[in-house]
Amino acid sequence: MHPVIPYLTAAALFGLGVYGVLVRRNAVLLLMSVELMLNAVNLILITSDATVRAELPASGQVFALFVIVLAAAEVGVGLALILALYRLRASVAVDRIPLSERAPVTDGIPVQRRPSGATLPVRDEVDL
């Protein structure tokens, strides 16, 4: 078995993930690209587990399991953030978030209100 084949596959997948994160504009597609990168890392871990004799057996596989769990947690929180963003802006385009404008009121939800009832002055001042 030539380990260079899965290694190069992982490198290509990682590059695709980086490209996706930088180029995509939809937040959901951003999450998918992050998944591609995490999978590349997992593939490298599994391949090195199969090729390098480590002191502890199967460490690479254990790490890969941990990374998979981390990815699941990340997608859960990411989905919550995306939905909060969508509720606020009615759009998930990451480069078109109007930080310097007043946010649109979507479906009758007064987006200017915080739990305390105070208005949110930060949004008018923050600028990227």
Binding site: M1, H2, P3, V4, I5, P6, Y7, L8, T9, A10, A12, L13, F14, G15, L16, G17, Y19, G20, V21, L22, V23, R24, R25, V28, M32, S33, E35, L36, N39, N42, L43, I44, I46, T47, A50, T51, P57, A58, S59, Q61, V62, A64, L65, F66, I68, A72, V75, G76, V77, L79, A80, L83, A84, R87, V92, A93, D95, I109, R113, G117
Partner: protein, 170 residues
């Protein structure tokens, strides 16, 4: 070239091709479905590399749970059904950085391994992996459970409508 090599090459080609489609397609839903193909091919590569348990966990967690969550996100953000033309921004930087990352990583690994041959690993068992997790990696395992709890609470807090807001019951 052994059978394992051929399998790894084929699965790698499928994974990279489908991954390419994930980052260039203009259909949101199709990106999610191509992601399934990529993750499945990577799971197949895990099987060839004798990581049986990880392969099935990948199928269960990634193809099962993560992709379903992503498709939920697609639906809940009311993504258009057909092709949308504004999914990408013009990205020479993306091409440059992504290509640079892939080429750099590939060159590094290529230099490290050349066309070296390694004996095919013995088929791993869930017993060995479970023993390792609970013998040497117990602390990370427990920390991970705390992290999952934190992620759960965080997701609930973030997605909950504000307390004084009775119209936000969605």
């Amino acid at each position: 070239m052994t059978a394992a090599d051929v399998l790894l090459l084929a699965l790698g080609a499928i994974a990279v091709g489908a991954g390419w489609r994930v980052v260039i397609t203009s259909h949101l839903v199709r990106a999610g479905l191509w992601l399934v193909v990529t993750l499945g091919a990577v799971a197949g590569a895990y099987l060839v590399l004798a990581a049986e348990l990880v392969a099935w966990v990948q199928v269960l967690l990634y193809v099962g749970a993560v992709v379903v969550l992503l498709l939920f996100a697609v639906m809940l953000t009311r993504a258009p059904i057909g092709a949308s033309s504004d999914l990408d921004r013009p990205g020479w930087t993306g091409l440059l950085v992504g290509g640079g990352a892939a080429l750099g990583l590939g060159a590094l690994l290529l230099d490290g391994y050349r066309w070296q041959k390694v004996d095919a690993p013995a088929v791993g068992s869930a017993q060995l992996l479970g023993g390792e997790v609970f013998r040497h990696w117990v602390l990370p395992f427990e920390v991970l459970s705390v992290l999952l709890l934190a992620a759960l609470i965080g997701a609930i807090v973030v997605s909950r409508p504000a307390p004084g807001d009775d119209s936000g019951s969605r």
